[in-house]
Point group: C2
Chain length 333, copies 2
DNA sequence: GTTCGCAGTCGATGATACCGAGTGCTAACG
DNA sequence: CGTTAGCACTCGGTATCATCGACTGCGAAC
């Protein structure tokens, strides 16, 4: 446990370092709120904090930098997620006021909103497909041997698969197949429906078979779409070009980021710092996540990826506000 | 016009600079194929090339770097797009052998393929929506006051819009609206259909009205989806972090890149170097593009964005091969 | 026209000195 | 006994300077 002054000193160092990216010297925070002692006293406490692992000294005669443990303490001892600036709050309000229509587009835009707010990279994970209930199935012919299977799910997601038919098939046959597939799938989850045993005349129908088969593919891996944006903000946040490249490469492998975010939420965390992420390229990064809920059910995740010296209060405020508003907006209808 | 030796020297300088990113000195290319003179002779020619604007000298006693004009000459005097390595060719074959199913997914994967091949950022622009013919329209209810309009287009694209209904509407009404919308839209292009005048009982139907209205929105701006990948490759290609950030920001504004690519194709170009792009942040970049065709009709564009010192033969080969194979694959069905 | 030889240029590298921000420690202070 | 003032010390950053080496440009020789 840290005594009050040390706590304030640590807090001040973290804030200062987040703002300046420069090692923080004792004299810089001697007058910080809750401190107000001489720099010599601060030095003593900083040495102790260093010893206890909250701060780190790049070299003997330089200021201190927060360690992972230091950041962790900082976020654990924030009172509340911090307040958004008026401009940001206004931006969010404006966004949700005019947000309309299509789920995908809305999530894509939410991702942009979040990256604009934070200036870091934003990730939005859509509702998983396989748990939603099928509302409608239809097979549409595109050309004699090509058809498109379209399934509308209860959460507004549309699953589609191209079917390459072996024999020419006319519209009547496709319509018949649509009816049969509807009987099998509608009302089921996509997952259950795709695995259903089919008997009777439907089992003979080439289109029905192809359709069910195509739905099985990907249904396991499918975790909901991922919308990333604001990667250009990462270039500002780091100074080494190699580091930027590593993080970008990670973001390109969407499943890594998605499983990281899911893992964090499972552990009940909303912030992961450096090695807490478990991903080596993110050693100097931090992630802030929040689930969003539709009608009380958590269905997806939004998050922000930035440097370890992230503006945590701001990022937490942005993420939590946006996730709440997004959930509310999606629950409305 | 350049005499043969100067041409060979210029060619050698460009190749060397592309490979090493270092200014090229006269002695490095004295033994290059088609040159084989002493370094002094090379120096004379390089001075001339410098004077004529093909090469540039960062400072008095350094090697030469190609100018934009030099790169331009180089790509204009390539014989053919260059050959792909065996590994790359194999990678493309493997990809199109197992590529299956859904258009969107396929374009997304094509983008990844292209960035893997070139190590630069790849952009794939899908077929525009508004020119395709509507094959099927359906309205599916999601909740009492929320419905989803799904339109399947002839090119396999699925357009969808969320309809927020004013009054509770049951499935029968939605089905009726589906039928009416089908009568209006099927067989038309999306653009024409959305603008059609509606008369008779359909004009009274709230769902029909909402549906048509929702289709009008975005139909103008809509140029086909954009799939970007391989942005991490940009981090390797440039050394200044600020430059990477600028290019990333540009890529995030997809319409800028799309209109650039479209513009290039209109001008009949397949390569744009530096200021030829007309975009200031791309001053030290180059873009290689190619259209892909379905049944002889150009419907979309693929391209690669990298540094001005791009491996043009390789990039041209990759882009042209992939565009050809992609078109063939999409024409197959 | 080509090549050789050579003086000259200029960035890169490394040594050296210096500055200054910042520390740790000791002694004085209240 | 916690706090502070004072001070010696450390060490990265910057500037200066010399050296090195990769080049060039040019005049003279081939």
């Amino acid at each position: 446990m840290l005594d009050e002054r040390k706590a304030n000193i640590l807090k001040a160092v973290v804030k200062e370092y987040i703002a300046t990216a420069q090692p923080v010297g004792s004299s810089h925070i001697a007058n910080a709120p809750g401190v107000n002692v001489s720099s010599a006293t601060v030095r003593n406490d900083m040495a102790a904090l260093d010893h206890e692992g909250y701060l780190h000294q790049p070299h003997t005669s330089s200021g201190r930098i927060p360690t992972e443990k230091g950041y962790r303490w900082f976020v654990d001892h924030l009172n509340g997620p911090g307040a958004l600036g008026a401009a940001e709050a206004q931006q969010i309000r404006a966004f949700f006021a005019k947000a309309h229509g299509e789920l995908e587009q809305m999530l894509r835009d939410t991702s942009k909103l979040l990256s604009n707010l934070t200036r870091y990279a934003a990730v939005v994970v859509g509702p998983p497909h396989k748990e939603a209930i099928v509302r409608s199935v239809q097979v549409v012919g595109l050309s004699p041997r090509l058809a498109l299977l379209v399934a509308v799910l209860s959460n507004g997601v549309v699953e589609k698969r191209t079917l390459e038919l072996v024999s020419d098939t006319d519209d009547a046959a496709l319509t018949a197949a649509s009816v049969r597939l509807s009987e099998i799938l509608v009302g089921q989850t996509l997952e259950a429906g795709a695995r259903a045993e089919v008997t009777g005349p439907a089992a003979q129908d080439e289109v029905v078979q192809l359709g069910l088969e195509s739905l099985k593919v990907d249904v396991d891996a499918d975790d909901g779409e991922v919308y990333t944006s604001g990667t250009s903000g990462l270039a500002q946040a780091f100074d080494a070009v190699a580091q930027v490249g590593e993080v970008l490469r990670l973001l390109e492998q969407q499943y890594v980021v998605v499983s990281l975010m899911k893992d964090l939420l499972d552990r009940g965390l909303s912030v992961a710092i450096g090695t807490e992420t478990g991903l080596e390229p993110l050693a100097e990064c931090a992630v802030v996540v929040a689930p969003y809920q539709i009608d009380g059910e958590p269905v997806g995740t939004i998050g922000v990826l930035g440097p370890a010296r992230m503006d945590y209060p701001q990022a937490l405020a942005a993420v939590s506000t946006v996730s709440r508003r997004l959930g509310a907006r999606l629950s409305e209808a």
